[in-house]
């Protein structure tokens, strides 16, 4: 129960912080009501009040209703799991930073290899090729058939300039 209360406190505080964000932002929202007497600030105020009430109710909960999901409760919290999560998040960050330089196809190849690595499959080069093999037809479909702009290797254009 005490672990559950700690979780409730943590989640309640997070919700209250979100409410604070919307509350502080209220001052930058136009308060002119118009014919309806309803300004753009109205819904923002409703959201702020709603989140504050929900956050307080969660924060102050004393029962054990606020337990984590079953998978989470039964899982063993080892450092290895969090290391895997960090690799996955790192892979996504690297992908968003690199896609503008190396293009969708190669970036997707690396994303596949890093995600698979995080999930325990360490055949990096094989997974890199699988990722490229998946991304290439998608790139062809989007650029050649649907006419969307997905540069294959934008760095080349940068270097030409």
């Amino acid at each position: 129960v005490s672990q559950s209360r700690t979780a409730a406190r943590f989640v309640g505080a997070a919700v209250l912080l979100t409410a604070l964000f919307f509350g502080v932002g209220l001052q930058y929202v136009d308060a002119q009501g118009g014919y309806a007497g309803l300004s753009p600030r109205f819904l923002a105020t409703v959201v702020t009040i709603g989140l504050t009430v929900c956050g307080l109710l969660i924060f102050l909960r004393k029962d054990s209703v606020f337990s984590e999901s079953e998978d989470a409760a039964t899982a063993i919290h080892t450092n290895a799991r969090f290391k895997r999560l960090a690799i996955l998040v790192g892979g996504l960050v690297a992908h968003l930073l690199a896609i503008g330089l190396i293009g969708f196809v190669i970036a997707s190849g690396f994303l596949m290899a890093i995600v698979a690595y995080a999930y325990g499959n360490e055949k990096f080069l094989r997974n890199l090729s699988i990722g490229i093999a998946i991304a290439l037809p998608i790139w062809a479909l989007f650029t050649q058939v649907l006419g969307l702009n997905l540069p294959i290797f934008p760095l080349l254009n940068v270097l030409k300039i």
Binding site: A14, V15, T18, F22, Y28, V29, D30, Q32, Y35, A36, G37, L38, S39, P40, F42, L43, A44, V46, V47, G50, L51, C54, G55, L57, I58, F66, E68, S69, D71, A72, T74, A75, R81, R84, L85, L88, V89, L92, V93, L96, I99, S108, L111, M112, V115, A116, Y119, G120, N121, N127, I130, G131, I134, A135, I138, F142, L146, L148, L150, P151
Partner: protein
């Protein structure tokens, strides 16, 4: 009445004669095929595809082009359910409920029945809705004209209440998720006043957060992040034991298809949020009526087939019905029907009450093509069920790699911006936290989509009533909806207090 029906039947027969010509059949097949392929890809919806194919109107006959566009429109709805069920990546906001329940079924080895009930349900609902469209469209659309902003606002309030109190195991967490969704929906330029809200001075946020990014982030990226932390070595994912629907699956699906069809159709007729509200309402209805409560994913179960069958039927019925206000009133009720309106205008045709008189054969050809498209889509999709479920045999590391490639593609293809990928990641982390602490994600999406619309309708209603809030209880339809809202809130509490 009989005269009206026989006139409609006669016109429909003429429509079939035109739609069944070989060239129009080829256009219909092409539309269904392209639509299914597009529905499978997250991030690129039917509206964008029809918009990209609009230049065809300069070269192709009006009937052929409109048949192609209608096929894309329908096919995208069929295709959207496939990836929702198999990969938890809804390509369309209306298939989010399918993702919730269908993906859980897939994880427990029942991807086949989930895909089959979605395909057959879409066919049943599409056919029922097309028949209703043929018979009652003009009258029904006229009736929808009596709805004002106050009624639309109350319908949206009903959707908020139902979604936050019925989905998920706790009303408090549901409400919290709803307010979060409403808050996310606030970001961007407010359309009525033109003022910006919560954009933090970042230009990319002026247009607001894209619904595809938020949906894919919460569902697909959130799940990939969650499973890397918590997936058990002997996890149930990738299990594939059943391909066909059992007798019990049929027994549970048929009533859900019919209920879903009749929930979806009226919502398609009115401009109150497209197919999202009826899919969520259908899910809530099925969850209330089901004798298998323990199977619903929101109750920690293995996925209930009626939770896929009903919403899929509601989705397709609403999508079909949405053509009624477009054809008879010239009012587009979704982004795709808005593009279809542009297609009509490219041919110097103005949808509205006079369209039936001036271009009756064209309208009836389009309606006949919907019947044909429905059959084509069922024939295309059912044999593919066995092939689609093999996707689940892919090893988990590669499956999640593929899911994240599709997810990032969905976000990046919108405007080729790294900012959208960053937003996707942040929303994914939010999804991880919400799953970790048992918050339902559907209310976030509903709040985000309907929040700005509800705000606009509330403002319009109060402007017309000169600031008088009693308008929401003095108008009869509003009052009825208010009673339904109060029932949704109060009745479950009364019943839950009764000793079992």
């Amino acid at each position: 009445m009989m005269d009206v029906v026989s006139a409609a039947m006669s016109s429909l027969a003429g429509g079939f004669a035109s739609a069944l010509t070989p060239i129009n059949l080829i256009w219909a097949l092409a539309g269904c095929f392209i639509g299914t392929a597009i529905g499978v890809l997250p991030g690129i919806g039917p509206a964008l595809t029809v918009a990209m194919l609009l230049p065809l109107t300069a070269k192709v006959e009006p009937a052929s082009a409109l048949i192609l566009f209608a096929g894309i429109y329908y096919g995208a709805m069929f295709g959207g359910s496939t990836t929702s069920i198999l990969m938890n990546t809804p390509g369309e906001s209306a298939t989010m409920v399918t993702a919730m329940e269908g993906n859980t079924m897939a994880k427990y080895g029942r991807a086949g029945p989930a895909l089959a009930t979605a395909a057959i349900g879409s066919f049943v609902a599409g056919t029922i809705a097309t028949i209703l469209l043929s018979l009652v469209a003009p009258a029904a659309a006229q009736a929808a004209l009596s709805f004002g902003p106050a009624e639309y606002f109350m319908i949206m309030l009903l959707a908020f209440t139902t979604v936050s109190s019925v989905l998920g195991s706790s009303a408090l967490r549901g409400l919290c998720a709803l307010f979060l969704g409403l808050g996310i929906g606030l970001v961007g330029i407010e359309t009525t006043s033109g003022t910006t809200r919560y954009t933090l001075g970042i230009p990319e946020l002026y247009d607001g957060l894209d619904i595809v990014i938020v949906a894919v982030g919460l569902f697909a990226v959130g799940e990939a992040l969650y499973n890397v932390l918590y997936l058990q070595p002997a996890a149930t994912i990738n299990k594939m034991s059943q391909v066909k629907m059992s007798a019990s699956d049929w027994k549970r699906s048929v009533p859900a298809w019919l209920r879903g069809s009749f929930i979806g159709f009226p919502f398609g007729l009115i401009p109150a949020g497209g197919a999202e509200i009826p899919t969520f309402l259908s899910y809530a209805t099925e969850k209330k009526l089901s004798k298998h409560q323990e199977e619903f994913s929101s109750n920690g179960g293995k996925g209930a087939i009626e939770g896929v069958a009903g919403p899929e039927a509601a989705n397709n019925a609403a999508v079909t019905a949405a053509l009624a206000p477009l054809l008879t009133l010239g009012i587009p009720v979704s982004s795709t029907t808005a593009i279809l309106l542009a297609a009509f205008q490219n041919y110097n045709l103005q949808p509205g009450p006079t369209l039936m008189q001036t271009s009756g054969p064209l309208v009836w050809t389009l309606i006949a093509s919907l019947y044909i498209g429905n059959v084509m889509l069922l024939v295309l999709n059912l044999p593919l069920v066995g092939i689609w479920v093999r996707i689940l045999r892919i090893p988990t590391p590669l499956l999640y790699g593929g899911i994240l490639i599709f997810s990032t593609l969905g976000a990046y293809s919108i405007r080729q911006s790294w900012f959208d990928l960053l937003t996707l990641l942040l929303i994914g982390l939010l999804g991880l936290a919400m799953r970790r602490f048992g918050f339902p994600t559907a209310p976030v999406i509903v709040g985000m989509i309907l929040g700005p619309m509800a705000e606009k309708q509330l403002r319009n209603a109060l402007s017309i009533a000169q600031g008088d809030w009693t308008v929401f209880v003095t108008r009869p339809i509003c009052l009825v909806i208010l009673v339904v809202i109060l029932s949704v809130l109060i009745l479950p509490k009364i019943f839950s207090k009764k000793p079992s």
